[in-house]
Subunit: 480 residues, 2 copies
């Protein structure tokens, strides 16, 4: 263990104070996706900026301009850039986090007021919106800073911070900021950064800490079939005209098989099968079919083999049909022939797949299948948005440091995971700064980040704060 | 021509008054589907009852009880039963109509206030909600009564009336009333009825009067696939679990081909092909592919042959996919795996098909196809509602009377049509009273009955009133 004992003790001794500070942060309803809450997002930025300054961090609030949401022009909450430590002999670690949160209303099904943090001493759960996503992890870093400041300890590395307030709403403006700040070289906040650490995802389960080295990318398609000028009555026009829904459903049925196989020719072929070494990573993960069944609430895994199921999430592409826009969707029985219907589907992608390569398979295939239908309706298909997948070198010294830190704090080896979802900023940091990016989660797999009754366990917050600090010491001690 | 000249002249001479009375009726927004408008539906029943009484009709307002709509208990508007004429030497004709209307708001896209009738002298159009559906036709009968009362003419038949105020909202309570009133025999309002005449549908086009002798029936299915206990994130769970949407879309794609052919085995086989005589009926109809294209606003007919397209509507079953409940339906790009999705589809049926026979094909087929998917999700399928098809004997004396009346008033032979949709009360009258039912429309195919800018043409109202009266004379003169 390279982290000083007094640091670890300080974290334990000040747990109550840290929990109380997390309660303060949760109490600010910084919902970026609700225009009416925008002042609260700004309030949260001021609160966080104040905390950082008090702990000795030099900060800069960057105005990211305005944007339009739900037809309303709104100011974007600032990005908070920060720096502490300028020792050229030390490594420089860039920390990313976000201070905005998902929407939450008690009426959604919360057992407690979402913006009043409730600490259940019995279960150890700290309930509240943002507790785990992502205020808890940000405050973990504050705890580390406070320990060092109070104890008069030098930080083992130089730190740089990038905290944003729009992560839950598309990270508007952030990519440009990262690029422009990087372009400034040593005059910018990101000059000299050796690695990036992001604590904004979760353990695979509720038991085993993990380190994450990959994320899937995504291509989201909208496929529209239009026919009549307006919705028709199925009594009057049924079997007189080509019905857009019939065409659309026929096309959607050709994209993916019920066993999850992607039927669009060429897509599956892009991914080489896992070799023995790679399979071993999945075999070793602390995970079971029962874990999936518990998470989804039903025994519906595509396979009964844990490794296959985990590879399905982590290193295989997937195609999901999300729904249809323009068709009848309410309860009841409406006899409509919808005039124009759009099928929404997305393909999660893994290296070496690229959005472009996937699009080049999907678009011609869908158009060719539509031509076969001999329909007089019209088809359009578009890529609504996409993002590349990301995989980091998990043998990098930053990952080794995280592994050793986890073993030191939790007395066990972390799971080495890839996530099925996307955290787009990860890729931006990796490609713009051209350094290793590490995902080092604090919370558990059942925290309910975007759900009702979001929580962070006290032990994950306190041990997690130790983990973040210890990681910095391991980075400081690492041989590059 | 058996109708007296003075009757026809009276209708022409009083056109302005009749149009003004239609304006009064349109001004009462008797929307049965909007709980807040329920008092207006009652107001309309009182207005109509007053008109009938003034014209010498003995009426009875039948309380149909209460019902629940949108969670609110509401009194049902009364059925208005009426009788005039008790001559055993004359035939007795039962007239049906409805005094409620579809919802309408100017903001839906109306060019004028929907409940203020606007008579455009240039085009001859009388614009307003209910003008053609079904206040115009009801007032046509009032015009006939007024002419006879004022002129001191005896009616050529005994008349019975059944006007309801819930047609646009499921005709609640009406079937029971028809049955109980019929059961009373000669003590009831329907005692001794020889035939039924309903004016509540439309010409096939804008040029040629028509008489309608058939309606399709319907079986409406809801097919539900459920999997996880809640919606899942496609990043986290894509390719780990069986997705209900994939299963559902696969099943929906097996029901109907893009060319309209119903793929459920056995369904198409139920309907014998049209013979030469039957085909000739469709060949003779005043209708073109251009008419369909104009009506739907796009060149999307399943065939370029008019007879095939008309038979598709009138004497073939059709299967329409209406939509999916439970999936993502909004604009935008949500990466959800919906937990439980229900596909809604319906099959329009024609004689000799029955809902039971169709259900017996659909349910086992869908279940067998689902079993083939090897999915761990769950399937349920249910018949939400159904109605039998109806075809009348179009060589019956009531139809002959309508044909002769049309020729007398319009100087041309009517189209002999079947409708693709349903008017459930038609079947109830036919089966309960066990007499011939005739559909004798007043309005044109482009009246926009359930749409914005609903209208009735002045000529259809005035000539239509003559037609209804003349029909009664032809019935009176008919040899049974």
């Amino acid at each position: 263990m390279v982290a000083p004992q007094e640091f670890l003790k300080f974290i334990d001794d000040n747990a109550t104070k840290f929990i109380s500070r997390l309660g303060e942060a949760v109490a600010i309803p910084s919902v970026s996706g609700d225009g009416a809450r925008r002042p609260d997002v700004f309030k949260m930025s001021a609160w966080l900026d104040g905390q950082l300054k008090q702990l000795g961090v030099t900060t800069k609030l960057v105005d990211l301009g305005k944007h339009v949401m739900d037809g309303q022009e709104l100011p974007l909450p600032p990005a908070i850039l920060g720096r502490i430590g300028e020792d050229p002999a030390k490594k420089t670690v860039l920390i990313y986090g976000h201070y905005d949160v998902q929407p939450a209303e008690k009426s959604d099904g919360w057992n407690t007021e979402p913006f009043t943090m409730v600490f259940n001493e019995k279960t150890g759960e700290m309930l509240g919106r943002g507790s785990t996503d992502d205020k808890g992890p940000i405050l973990g870093w504050l705890n580390v800073l406070e320990a060092h400041k109070t104890l008069g300890l030098a930080l083992p590395v130089n730190l740089r911070f990038c905290f944003e307030g729009m992560e839950e709403s598309g990270s508007e403006g952030l990519d440009d900021l990262i690029k422009s700040e990087t372009a400034k070289g040593n005059d910018g906040f990101f000059g000299g950064v050796d690695c990036v650490c992001i604590s904004d995802n979760y353990w695979l389960n509720t038991r085993t800490p993990c380190i994450t080295y990959g994320l899937r990318g995504l291509v989201y398609f909208k496929m529209t079939v239009s026919g009549p000028a307006r919705d028709l009555h199925s009594g009057v026009f049924g079997r007189m005209v080509h019905e857009p829904m019939t065409d659309l459903v026929t096309l959607l049925s050709k994209l993916v098989a019920p066993d999850g196989t992607i039927l669009v020719p060429g897509v599956e072929d892009m991914v080489p099968p896992a070799d023995f070494d790679e399979k071993e990573i999945y075999d070793k993960l602390d995970y079971s079919i029962q874990d999936v069944e518990d998470a989804v609430g039903a025994p519906i895994t595509l396979s009964n083999d844990k490794t296959t199921v985990l590879m399905g999430r982590m290193r295989m592409p997937s195609l999901s049909l999300h729904g249809i826009e323009g068709a009848f969707y309410s309860p009841g029985a409406k006899t409509v022939i919808p005039a124009c219907v759009s099928g929404k589907f997305s393909i999660r992608i893994v290296p070496p797949m690229t959005p472009k390569a996937v699009e080049d398979c999907v678009l011609p295939f869908v158009k060719a299948e539509f031509a076969k239908l001999n329909s007089k309706n019209k088809l359009t298909i578009e890529n609504l948005h996409d993002g590349r997948p990301w995989v980091a070198d998990h043998k990098h010294w930053s990952y080794e440091a995280a592994r050793r830190a986890t073993e030191a704090v939790y007395q066990r080896s972390p799971d080495l995971t890839r996530e099925g979802g996307s955290i787009p900023v990860t890729l931006t940091f990796a490609e713009t700064l051209n350094v290793n990016v590490l995902l080092l989660p604090m919370g558990r797999g059942d925290d309910g980040a975007h759900s009702t009754n979001e929580k962070l366990d006290r032990s994950n917050f306190i041990e997690g704060s130790k983990l973040l600090g210890t990681y910095l010491y391991e980075v400081g001690a690492a041989t590059v």
